[in-house]
């Protein structure tokens, strides 16, 4: 506990700046050290490219890389949307009927615990390549949505449920006006995890797919550049993947904040 905290009027502003500036300083220092080591030791780019070389490669190869980025993002988006709809729908189904839940839940767990990298080759045999990649993204991403939504639907306030019962609410009314709003923070939490996971699923499946094609994703670019010892391009593609992951997380976190800001504890300022 900081004893001075209540005295200072605005600690949060300065603290936020520090929280933002510190990682940036660490990042810049790391890049500078990297650049220096590569230059002083004269390490060739096919062993370890300097950050400047990676940046130049990113610009030079932008046509190819942006194409791949679009492909991977589209796959991720398709997998994410499928996982969101599928996860929420399945959770609602489980919530309506214990029989369905008992029958199907073990299989949802099996899908979750089996490594997707091991399922991908099988899917690639039975499905078209593009479909298989989306299915992989779906498999990885849907479970957190399912389990979080289930948790949310089960966390409805007991007295509020009693109130709905007292006023003779129908099951659709209870779902729409009580269960779904009560579960919303949990659902959004699940979606936030699912966003990053669908990117991972898409990348894993692309690597497993491996074959060349016009619309090849970033993961394929990384594998291909590895075979060709084009290490700078590998790094550039990796950088794009990381940025994509950060952006996906940021967008989902922002949506979650905007939806919950008026009522949920997680979105409230610390002054409350």
């Amino acid at each position: 506990m900081n004893a001075q905290a209540p005295v200072t009027a605005k600690p949060s502003g300065a603290q936020n700046a520090v929280r933002f500036v510190l990682p940036v300083i660490v990042f810049a220092a790391g890049l500078a050290a990297w650049e220096l080591v590569v230059r002083i030791r004269e390490i060739p780019p096919y062993v370890l490219p300097a950050p400047s070389v990676i940046f130049l490669t990113l610009i030079k190869d932008w046509a190819v890389l942006s194409q791949s980025l679009a492909t991977t993002l589209l796959t991720t988006l398709e997998g994410f949307v499928a996982a969101s709809i599928g996860g929420v729908a399945l959770a609602l189904l489980f919530n309506q009927s214990k029989w369905v839940e008992y029958s199907l839940f073990p299989y949802a767990v099996v899908l979750q615990v089996t490594p997707v990298i091991a399922i991908a080759p099988l899917l690639l045999i039975y499905l078209e390549q593009q479909t298989a990649v989306v299915v992989c993204a779906f498999i990885v991403a849907f479970f957190p949505v399912l389990s979080n939504t289930t948790l949310g639907l089960n966390s409805v306030d007991r007295n509020l449920a009693g109130l709905f019962q007292l006023y003779g609410a129908s099951p659709p009314q209870t779902l729409r006006f009580l269960k779904l709003p009560a579960a919303l923070p949990y659902i959004l939490g699940g979606l936030r995890i699912a966003g990053g996971l669908s990117l991972i699923g898409a990348v894993v499946a692309e690597i497993a797919a491996g074959t060349a094609g016009a619309g090849s994703g970033l993961a394929y670019r990384i594998a291909e550049s590895g075979y060709r010892l084009n290490i700078p391009r590998m790094f550039a593609a990796l950088l794009l993947l990381s940025l994509a992951g950060i952006v996906i997380y940021g967008v989902l976190a922002l949506i979650s904040h905007l939806v919950l800001r008026r009522w949920h504890e997680s979105a409230l300022g610390k002054e409350n």
Binding site: L160, L163, L166, Y167, A182, W263
Partner: protein, 272 residues
Amino acid sequence: MSDAKTSPTVEASLTALAVSLRGVTKAYDNGVMALGPFDLAVRKGEFISLLGPSGCGKSTALRLIAGLSAASSGTVRMSRHEGPAQKIGHGIGFVFQEPTLMPWTSVRENVRLPLKLGGVPKAEGRARADAALASVGLADFADAFPRELSGGMKMRVSLARALVTDPDILLMDEPFAALDEITRFRLNNDLLALWRSLGKTVIFVTHSVFESVYLSQRVVVMTARPGRIQADIRIETLEPRGEEFRTSAAYSDYCRRVSAALAPSYSGQSML
């Protein structure tokens, strides 16, 4: 609920009664007897308190009356509403120990909920919700969210929601137990004023001797689990009651009598 045969004379006397419980028991699934056998008759327009140690089944009795759970044996009877249309919530308003508000929507929407579930048109529902809010002194807070209100104000919203359907019977389950004393005194006075102006039957569950004597025309003292009636004490004083009653000799005399009736319920229990 099992409907025991009632004699014609009992049937006739029921017309003046708002609520009648006969030989009611409640056992939980694990076999623990929570209540009874319990007999209670509440006249229309009466304000009665159920007073007892925690865990004596007073909340259970209230939930049975509200129809939120079913009695293991015995009969629970309510006076039928004499209007042509069935009342929303069967003419019952319920106030829980916690405010039990939906955090995701505005105060007005919280109060309108019973009407919305009962199919009242939106414009009419909003007008009635605003009127109910005005009756508890919160007309200016209709657009606020529950988290922006203090504990006492939340409880007032909860009361407004119970009143918005114009119920015949108001069931209150230790509604002010979590509030500070000053807020509680104010809400006690406001509740008495509302009761005098609206003429509702009120069944008020509390574990406070002072609150029960101050508010009610009858204090029903219950034994420890399984809850039975220990004493039924009528509080007679000049109406309307106000702060001068709270400081009168008659008041402390009643409190002494009620406390004495309550004492056996605590004998043999460790006072933690």
